[in-house]
Each structure stands twice: as C-alpha cells, then as structure tokens.
C-alpha cells in the first residue's frame, strides 16, 4: 500500500515538473529563442530535477515525454506555444533561472514565481521604442549613403511605420497584413522626399525606410536551427521570414505604383 502511495505522489510531482518544463519551453519559443536553446534549457532543468525526458519541439507546440529509469515512457503531455512575440529579456531571464536551478538547487515554487515575474516584466515605453526604431531607419539610410535630409525623412517614416504596425496588431490584423500596412505607410512618407525634390534619383530614403521591418530573428534562427539539425523548424522559420519579406515588398511596391517610381 505504501509503495502505491509513493508512486502516486511521484507521478503527481512528475506532472508538476513536466508542467513547469513545458511552460519554460513554450515561453522561450515564443520569445524568439532557437530550437537548440529551448531543447538545451529544458533538458538542463529536467536533469536538475533528476528526471529524464524526451522532447518534440515545433513552431506552435511542444510535446514532452517523462521517462522512467529504464527509458520507457510514463506519460506524454503537449502544450501550445503562445503567439510569437520577440522578447529577449525573457530569454535572458530564463537562461539565468535555469542556471540558478542547477547551481543553487531552486525549488519548483521558486521557478513558478520566477516564470510569473518574467511574464509580467514591462516592455520598454512605446515612445522610446518608436524613437530608437526611427533612428535605426536613419541609420540604414546613412549606411546606403543617404544625405542628412533623407535621413530625417527615414526617421519620420520608420517612426510612423512602426506606429502603424503596432496599431494594426492591436486592432487584430494578421501579422503579415500589419507588416504590409507598415511598409506601405513608411515608404509612402519617405517616397515624398523624392517627389518634393529633396532626394536624388537613387531614392535612398524610400528604399531604406522599410528596413526596420526585416525579419532578422526568423531568418537567423532559421539557419541556426538547420545547422543544429532541427531542419523542420528551420524551414518553417525560413518560410515565415520569406513571407514577411514578401509583405514588405508588396507594401513598398504599392507606394511605387502611387508615386510612379
């Protein structure tokens, strides 16, 4: 009887651990970590708890199987990944947490509290993000040999472009459609520089105003996933990156049609 009770509490604890592991994994995945990082972190945490696990990680969900000492499965659970919103502060926090678990022997409750804290961390204030992204747009224009006037136009274009994207996402538009709106707005504003005679025939401002939208995280993660052997996720991410680029191209071509560039 005692043995049976033991095994029941054991399974209960296992479920609790599995739940935390999956929570960590899905948070990492949606924050923009590459698949290798999710796998390493979750395995590191499972080892620290003294369990062996198997993982299947995809773009939209993570599957976890708890194994007994003979490597046979005890149970499998699935958790859906929340929508992907890049947040490097979460990645950094979870990385630190996983090492605290290994080195300082954190308890399940401590981990739960830390995950909750990380989820509630504020993002940067909106005006700061908009300003820095505007400066980034000006930076891209400068890298393409833009003049100071063109830089100013790109700053405004990127600033308002990102504003439109944020508003579109808030309004519940599809992410790709939001990128299209954003690229269209930005290139429409920056393109006016050439129409006003403030830009030469090269249209630097017009072309570089949409570069703040480039899908850097999906594209770079795509390659690191493929190099790691997570080919399926790598291809998925690569295709997402391609679709975002395509939306940017559509946006910029729409304003080209209006301006007759």
């Amino acid at each position: 009887m005692n043995e049976l009770e033991n095994s029941i509490t054991n399974v209960e604890e296992m479920k609790e651990v599995a739940d935390i592991l999956l929570k960590t994994g899905t948070m990492l995945m949606s924050a923009g970590a590459n698949t290798g990082r999710v796998r390493t972190t979750v395995h590191r945490m499972a080892d620290a708890f003294g369990y062996s696990i198997d993982l299947h990680i995809s773009q939209r969900s993570i599957w976890l199987t708890m194994l007994n000492e003979h490597g046979a499965s005890i149970f499998t659970i699935v958790r859906v990944t929340p929508s992907h919103i890049i947040n490097f502060r979460t990645i950094s926090g979870i990385s630190k947490m996983s090492w605290s678990l290994v080195e300082e022997r954190w308890t399940i409750n401590q981990i739960t509290d830390e995950l909750k804290r990380l989820e509630q961390l504020p993002r940067f204030p909106r005006w700061l993000v908009l300003t820095l992204v505007g400066l980034a747009g000006a930076g891209f224009c400068s890298l393409a040999d833009g003049t100071p006037i063109e830089l100013a136009f790109t700053f405004v274009a990127s600033f308002l472009g990102l504003y439109v994207r944020q508003e579109a996402l808030k309004g519940g538009f599809n992410p790709y459609v939001s990128v299209y709106f954003s690229a269209f707005t930005a290139s429409l504003i920056a393109g006016s520089a050439s129409k006003l005679g403030l830009s030469d025939s090269q249209n630097h401002a017009y072309v570089t105003s949409v570069l703040f939208l480039i899908p850097g995280v999906p594209l770079i993660n795509s390659f690191s996933d493929i190099l790691d052997g997570n080919v399926q996720n790598g291809v998925t991410r690569g295709f997402v990156g391609f679709l975002i680029s395509f939306s940017i191209a559509l946006g910029i071509l729409t304003s080209a049609l209006i301006y007759q560039f």
């Binding site: 923009g32 970590a33 590459n34 990082r37 390493t40 890049i86 947040n87 490097f88 502060r89 990645i91 950094s92 926090g93 990385s95 630190k96 090492w99 993002r123 940067f124 700061l128 993000v129 820095l132 992204v133 505007g134 400066l135 980034a136 747009g137 000006a138 930076g139 891209f140 400068s142 890298l143 393409a144 990127s158 990102l162 630097h204 072309v207 570089t208 949409v210 570069l211 703040f212 480039i214 850097g216 995280v217 594209l219 770079i220 795509s222 390659f223 690191s224 190099l227 680029s245 191209a249 910029i252 071509l253 080209a256």
Partner: protein, 165 residues
C-alpha cells in the same frame, strides 16, 4: 585618410540601427551598450573590407564572425545568452538596397520578354538576387560559426580569458 572617417561615421549609424532592433526585441537594458558597439564594429569591418575591394558576401561574413566571437565574452560579462548580442548587431548588415533592386527586377521581368532591355534586367536581377542570398547566408551562419568552432552546448562551458567569475 578621409575614407576611414566616412566609415567611422557609418559605423556609428550602424550601431544606432542595431540599437533600434535591440529596443524592438526588448533586450535587457544592461546589454544596450554592447549591442551598439558590436553593431558598429560589424559595419566597420564590412565597409573597411569593401573599401579594399573584397567581395561583399565575404566582407559581411567577416563582420558577422567578429560579432559572433565578441558576443561570447560579452555573454559571460553581462550574464545573458550570446544571441541577445549577435542578432540585433548583425541586422544593420542586411543588404536592403540589393534586396529592393532584386524585387524591382523580378517585377520588371514579369513584363514583355521581347523588350530590348529584358536580357540586361534579367542578368542584373540574378546578380542582385545571388548577392542577397549569399550575404544573408554569410550573416546567419557567420554569427554561429564561433559556437560551432568551440564545440560547446552553452557559453558557460567556454573558458574566456580576462573575465570575472
């Protein structure tokens, strides 16, 4: 010597571009300065090599590898994973103008194939497209090359000289 001043000026803007993406990706505040620095260094290396007539993909690769290597000690020093430094820092090197010209070329190619300029547009578009593809591969592979060479699962296992424990 004026070319180096122009490149330095561009590097500062490159660093600012990296910083914009850092804000977009919500990085920890303590990594801001390093991202600015690495973004600038990547752009500096790329444009310096371009000045000496190196291939554009090769120049981008050199910049990306440098960023990848610098991210490892920075990760130790700031206690944050290296990808938080290298992803925003390589983005300023993404070839936006070339990509735009490629797409414009592709759109033009949907037009009349018997027009006089069709052949020239075709070869230009292929040229731009190949450059874009090779630069993108160079950038994304370049930043992970250091980790591949050092053959460790986590930066914590890499011994970095001159950092505090």
């Amino acid at each position: 010597m004026s070319w180096i001043l122009i490149i330095l000026y561009k590097s500062i803007w490159g660093g600012l571009a990296a910083l914009g993406f850092a804000a977009l990706f919500n990085v920890p505040v303590r990594s801001f300065f390093h991202i600015f620095l690495f973004g600038g260094i990547g752009v500096f290396i790329k444009f310096t090599l371009l000045h000496f007539n190196f291939n554009i993909a090769l120049s981008s690769l050199a910049g990306a590898v440098a960023i990848g290597f610098l991210s490892i000690p920075a990760a130790h020093y700031k206690h944050t994973p290296p990808l938080i430094f290298y992803i925003p820092a390589v983005i300023p090197m993404i070839p936006g103008i070339l990509a735009y010209r490629m797409i414009l070329g592709l759109i033009t190619l949907t037009g009349n194939p018997k027009s006089a300029t069709y052949g020239a547009t075709l070869s230009e578009t292929i040229n731009y497209g190949l450059k874009v593809v090779f630069i993108l591969i160079s950038l994304s592979v370049g930043v992970v090359i250091p980790m591949l060479l050092l053959r460790k699962e986590s930066v914590k296992d890499i011994k970095v000289p001159f950092t505090r424990k």
